[in-house]
């Protein structure tokens, strides 16, 4: 067969060039998630957002948290992480965290895991190591309870720990603060969901003492309204 000769020669030439130029099982994607973009009844506003760029198993992952009250930024941090899949549902993340507020600013190294735990709990747990041996830890968990296909109730909990007192930023060692919320969103589209919710936060231990010294409250609850958007 004369075609057999062709067949022997062609693959060498062809296999070297990947012809799937416009399709890819693992394309480079970007994902921006504004999980909470909200205003509170207490003159507060907040943004909790994440973004990544990458492929199936390796991503550059950004996280940011900003809290404002009375036109004053009380807390602002950004994390830049390399995220690597280590098991079907878990990513190992490492990188840096920078706290712009409260001042003076602080920089931390980050080692964390993020993923989906059994029973569909979204988990993010991270250790932070800062300048002059300071340490911190954060644990946050979310759950999505579908009331209908589009009406979704999301309880969230976030807990922060610090290894040492930091008088300059008014954070105390041990359990420092906890924040829990309950948000009810309606997915007009998967990517676009307005919500209402309540949020409660409390400072503990030395952190609470620091707050009292400054004449600030140690607990706070507020009603929030916001948007959950991604693309």
């Amino acid at each position: 067969m004369k075609t057999s000769l062709k067949m022997l020669m062609l693959p060498v030439a062809l296999l070297s060039a990947n012809s799937f130029s416009h399709e890819n099982s693992d394309p480079l994607l970007t994902h921006l998630m504004l999980n909470q973009l909200e205003a509170s009844d207490d003159k507060g506003s907040a943004l909790e957002a994440q973004a990544w760029i990458g492929k199936d198993l390796h991503k550059l992952w950004l996280k940011t948290d900003v809290e404002r009250r009375d036109n004053n930024t009380e807390a602002a941090e950004i994390q830049v992480l390399y995220s690597r899949a280590i098991s079907p549902f878990w990513d190992l993340q490492m990188g840096a965290r920078h706290d712009l507020k409260p001042t003076p600013d602080r920089t931390w190294g980050v080692l964390g895991i993020q993923g989906l735990a059994p029973y569909f709990f979204d988990l993010d747990a991270a250790l932070f190591v800062g300048e002059s041996g300071h340490t911190a830890a954060r644990f946050s968990v979310d759950y999505e309870l579908l009331l209908t296909q589009r009406l979704i109730l999301t309880p969230t909990v976030e807990i922060n720990f610090y290894g040492q007192n930091d008088t300059e930023t008014a954070t105390g060692s041990g359990l420092s603060d906890a924040k829990t919320g309950l948000r009810l969103r309606y997915e007009i589209q998967r990517e676009f969901a307005p919500y209402v919710g309540i949020q409660w936060q409390k400072k503990f231990g030395n952190t609470a003492d620091f707050a009292k010294l400054k004449g600030e409250g140690v607990s706070d609850s507020e009603l929030v309204v916001g948007l959950h958007v991604w693309f």
Partner: protein
């Protein structure tokens, strides 16, 4: 007496013969005009052995929004190509797109350079270039063609092929109609892929809610509900994840016509009609039926089979089935193809009177996945996978029993039952009562669709006597991989109760979320959402166990070796692979030219994968070594396995892959057939 083509097709051919093609492509026919006409004729038919096909862009409108499709000669679906067995066809395909393109002749036996799969022994067609395909047509039946480049299948580049047999057709009919099913979306395929990778359940709007949980607790109690849910919660998977992409974005088309408009097929009173049904969808598996009409399945994947009379069958992406129907005059019938997840349907009408329409049936309840789909043993019968709040709840409970009985029957084979009780019945026997008796010897065979032959029109069956294959001799050999102990040809891993498998090391890691611990045989199971339709609705559903070749097996050798391949993935990360290895990182599967090999496919995922081998037949082991049916695309059910034989009689590099478009790139292998 039979005619080779419907009047409708003849008329279209007259108007648009092959010679006028270039003119047609220069002046693309607006799709809207066709769709708006009441007869909704579908694509034109081009006949002969010389074809000029123009791949180009075409404005379409299926959703009240104008979109650009990729088409052949301005038509979606592409023109029907009509060839003759024994002729040499020449197809000049010009790519007018801005990207590389290609046409793959699906299911056609041809040299690998003519197969049309870029990256194998074919380089694709560059923009502005023409590729001349030329090959001898060595087969007959119903096939199809589609782009193998980019995601162009999703954007419309697909069409049907009819090959007239050289010898007299063993199937008698007066009229034929080609029914090409597809799925259209206004979204770009790249966008769909991106969404699935960011949120794999994006298109699933049937997830479990708090209301479902409350209903379960009320009806079953907390303990039982907890037991049922805990498995899914621990595995972090959804039991409603039947399709990755659903009717949320898809409009299901029949011959390019939306379900709202409905394709129309006209016949004359008294005619026997052959429907050549092709699933050309990108991601959608359909369950097809014609309420009020029995269908006699006469061919699968273009190859004639011993006729089987059914009410309903599943057609996976890329499969084809030919059925004969004998509709009555002066009424209408609805051709109803509901998607496997019941989120939509493609629809057409068969009638003698163009003004008549039949009722459109309601879709069946959407299925839930269960233990079977996870490839788990059914140790706890309470863990049924069936939707708990369907009206048929009581009846659906039967389904679970049915499944357990399938298991029992398989176990019974092991103890040496005679095969004549198992589907491979003596077809020369016309005594249906006797068959009923056989069916009830000891086991409740009604629960196995494949065994229920009570609806068969035995007069149409020409099959010789297949009785007397002693299954007992095979089963002890089934699971062994050593060459001397391979299961007998025709049976493979599809029979017997041995369902332990070993998973390669490459299956462990972040890219694989499940491994079937005890995959059952997928042969007799009609599949999720079709089980027990005999009991529930009185519908006889086709299973793979029903398929027997019409012609004797060509290659009667026993396989010299066995290859077990695992279909793997991580649903949440939306990654797909074979044996945990993505195509990009995989070595070719090497076959010695001429060797007879068995492939055992094990589905470790929760999805139904249609696996397509280019260039060679996949000879499905349905229990009769003498009449092995030949397929080009084989369904591997979730958590199940299936085996088939192949003769490596086509040299070169061939694509071997899951035909679901967004699984294909990861779940692919090169099959390299070489003389050693």
């Amino acid at each position: 007496m039979k005619t080779t083509c419907s009047d409708l097709l003849n008329r279209r051919r007259f108007v648009l013969g092959a010679s006028s093609l270039l003119a047609v492509s220069a002046l693309p026919i607006p799709k809207q005009l066709w769709a708006a006409s009441s007869t909704a004729p579908g694509p034109v038919t081009l006949s002969g052995n010389q074809f000029d096909l123009q791949i180009g862009y075409q404005k379409v409108n299926f959703t009240d929004a104008e979109r650009i499709a990729t088409t052949v000669n301005g038509s979606l679906p592409a023109p029907i190509l009509r060839w003759k067995e024994g002729e040499r066809v020449t197809l000049r395909v010009t790519n007018n797109l801005q990207h590389d393109s290609s046409i793959h002749w699906h299911g056609i036996v041809l040299p690998s350079t003519m197969d049309g799969s870029p990256g194998f022994d074919f380089a694709g067609i560059k923009p502005g270039e023409t590729y001349e395909y030329q090959f001898d047509v060595q087969q007959n039946g119903t096939y199809w063609y589609h782009s193998h480049s980019g995601f162009q299948e999703q954007t419309g580049l697909l069409g049907g092929i009819i090959i007239e047999p050289k010898e007299p057709d063993p199937v008698a009919y007066d009229r034929e109609m080609l029914i090409l099913l597809s799925d259209w979306t206004d979204e770009t395929p790249e966008r769909i892929q991106g969404k699935l990778k960011k949120m794999s359940h994006y298109y699933n709007f049937r997830e479990r809610t708090a209301g479902d949980l409350w209903r379960d607790i009320k009806t079953k109690g907390i303990a039982k509900t907890w037991g049922e849910r805990s498995m899914w919660n621990q595995m972090r998977m959804s039991d409603t994840d039947v399709s990755d992409v659903t009717g949320y974005t898809y409009t299901y088309l029949m011959n390019g016509v939306t379900p709202d408009k409905g394709w129309l097929g006209l016949f004359k009173p008294g005619e026997k009609v052959r429907l050549r049904i092709i699933n050309g969808a990108a991601m959608s598996i359909f369950d097809l039926r014609i309420p009020g009409l029995k269908m006699t399945v006469v061919a699968a994947d273009g190859q004639n089979i011993q006729p089987v009379r059914v009410d309903e069958f599943r057609i996976a992406v890329a499969e084809t089935y030919d059925v004969i129907v004998e509709p009555e005059a002066d009424r209408a019938y609805t051709l109803f193809a509901q998607s496997i997840d019941r989120t939509g349907y493609a629809r057409g009408t068969l009638t003698t009177n163009p003004d008549l329409r039949a009722d459109i049936p309601a879709m069946d309840p959407a299925p839930d996945l269960g233990h079977l789909e996870m490839g788990m043993t059914m140790s706890n019968p309470d863990h049924s996978g069936h939707h708990s709040n369907t009206p048929e709840q009581g009846k659906l409970e039967l389904t679970d029993n049915g499944n357990h009985k399938i298991k029992k029957i398989e176990a019974a084979d092991h103890s040496g039952h005679d095969m004549s009780n198992m589907g491979a019945v003596d077809h020369s026997e016309h005594d249906m009562n006797k068959m009923e008796d056989m069916n009830h010897t000891g086991h409740d065979m009604d629960n196995m669709g494949a065994m229920d032959h009570s609806g068969h029109d035995m007069n149409k069956m020409k099959a010789p006597d297949h009785s007397g294959h002693d299954m007992g001799t095979m089963t002890n050999l089934t699971s062994s991989n050593s060459a001397s102990q391979l299961a007998k040809a025709g049976f493979g891993s599809n029979f017997g109760s041995q369902n332990q498998v070993s998973h390669p090391k490459t299956e462990y890691g972040p890219h694989v979320d499940n491994r079937a611990e005890a995959p059952r045989s997928g042969l007799t199971d009609p599949g999720v959402g079709l089980r027990n339709h005999q009991q529930l609705y009185g519908r006889r559903v086709l299973t793979y166990a029903d398929l027997r070749g019409l012609h004797p097996t060509r290659d009667k050798r026993e396989p010299s070796r066995e290859i077990e391949l695992h279909l793997t993935g991580n649903m949440r990360r939306y990654m797909w692979s074979i044996n945990g290895v993505n195509f990009m990182d995989a070595e070719p599967l090497r076959f010695r030219y001429g060797e007879r090999v068995r492939i055992i496919l094990v589905n470790d995922t929760m999805m139904t994968h249609p696996i397509h081998l280019h260039g060679m037949w996949s000879e499905l082991e349905t229990g009769d070594p003498d009449y092995i049916p030949r397929k080009h695309t084989v369904i591997v059910q979730p958590g199940a396995k299936i085996s088939y034989l192949l003769t490596a009689d086509a040299k070169g590099h061939w694509a071997y892959h899951c035909h679901l478009l967004f699984h294909m790139l990861g779940m692919m292998r090169t099959v390299y057939v070489v003389e050693e």
